[in-house]
Amino acid sequence: MAEIKDFEGLYSAWWEKIYRLCMGYVNEDAQARDLAQETFILVWENLEGFREEANMGTWIFRIASNHCLRQLEKNKKMQKAALTLQFPEESTPDRTAEVEMLYRFIAELPETDRIIISLELEEVKQGEIAQILGLSEGNVRVRIHRIKERLTQRFKEYGF
């Protein structure tokens, strides 16, 4: 019973972060919700392993990142769909143009860069991002710098 309560607390506390990370990866609301829900199914299944982990953030973000990357097994067209240049018709109603643009430009990035920038925007420390992905901290720092430059460039092209 205590375990269920722990899980529900975890779910409420981390849902938004995980949803945004998944949204950064797929740029599609319904798919991001599914991905985030499935991440929590994996969290549920791995709850025992979690108790031994020192850092909850690293642990849960690893599960989410790995699950996002695994989507290549399911949906070949996903990446291409995310790159569409029109705004999706069924976007979240109160999502601003800037947010839509940001997601669209993130969707243009390679898969690992999408995860890196989403984690950076979640204010996860660069050292932790390195641990989540298995990269060196230096590599993460350089990549974040390049990604932000690219995003800035893309916003400028659209008059922002």
Binding site: Q37, L69, R70, L72, P110, T112, L133
Partner: protein, 191 residues
């Protein structure tokens, strides 16, 4: 440009515990259903073949050998198929993504190998089984009918071996290879 501000400004749909719990339930059921269905199908077929042996009461050992080989084909298929599932259990969902992708790639390659071996073994055993099983009934026929029957049997075996088997293997291998290719693409992003 303050990306963090834009990121934070977005609205996020609220968590839905009910939906999550029902998804957990259907997720487990779906996984189990596929495993059970394949096992049940092949076990029922094996029982059916064994029942034929029981009712028809063949006299020659070749017929019994044929039945045994057909059942062995089903058993070999199931043994390899059931070995593929633990491959995925060996993946640590919470290892770092670079290692996770390396492991996933290894699993996919192993799956591709096992699938190819499994299909070859399955078709080989089943073909030998049919050829042996028919022997007892064919030798009771006139020579021309016996030759015709075995010609049809070998034609059927050849069709299975050279047309159906490669097609089945190619279908699955194409799917796996495309996943392996995309996994390798992502892996390059880690270097």
């Amino acid at each position: 440009m303050d990306f963090n501000m834009i990121w934070r400004a977005q609205s996020v749909p609220g968590p839905d515990l009910q939906a999550l719990y029902s998804k957990i339930k259907s997720y487990k059921a779906k996984r189990l259903r596929r495993l059970l269905l394949t096992n049940i199908c092949l076990v029922v077929t094996s029982v059916f073949i064994a029942a034929i042996g029981f009712w028809v009461k063949p006299e020659r050992p070749t017929t019994w050998a044929g039945i045994a080989l057909a059942i062995l084909a089903m058993a070999a298929f199931l043994a390899v198929y059931n070995r593929m599932i633990p491959l995925y259990r060996s993946l640590d969902d919470y290892s770092d993504s670079r290692r996770f992708m390396e492991n996933l790639l290894a699993v996919k390659k192993r799956e591709a190998f096992l699938h190819r071996q499994m299909m070859n073994l399955y078709f080989f055993l089943l073909s030998c089984g049919i050829a042996l099983y028919m022997y007892e009934y064919v030798i009771r026929m006139e020579m021309k009918w016996a030759l015709l029957t075995y010609a049809v049997i070998f034609l059927w075996i050849g069709f299975n071996w050279w047309v159906i088997r490669p097609r089945q293997i190619r279908k699955e291998q194409d799917k796996l290879n495309s996943i392996i290719e995309r996994l390798q693409e992502i892996q390059r992003q880690f270097s």
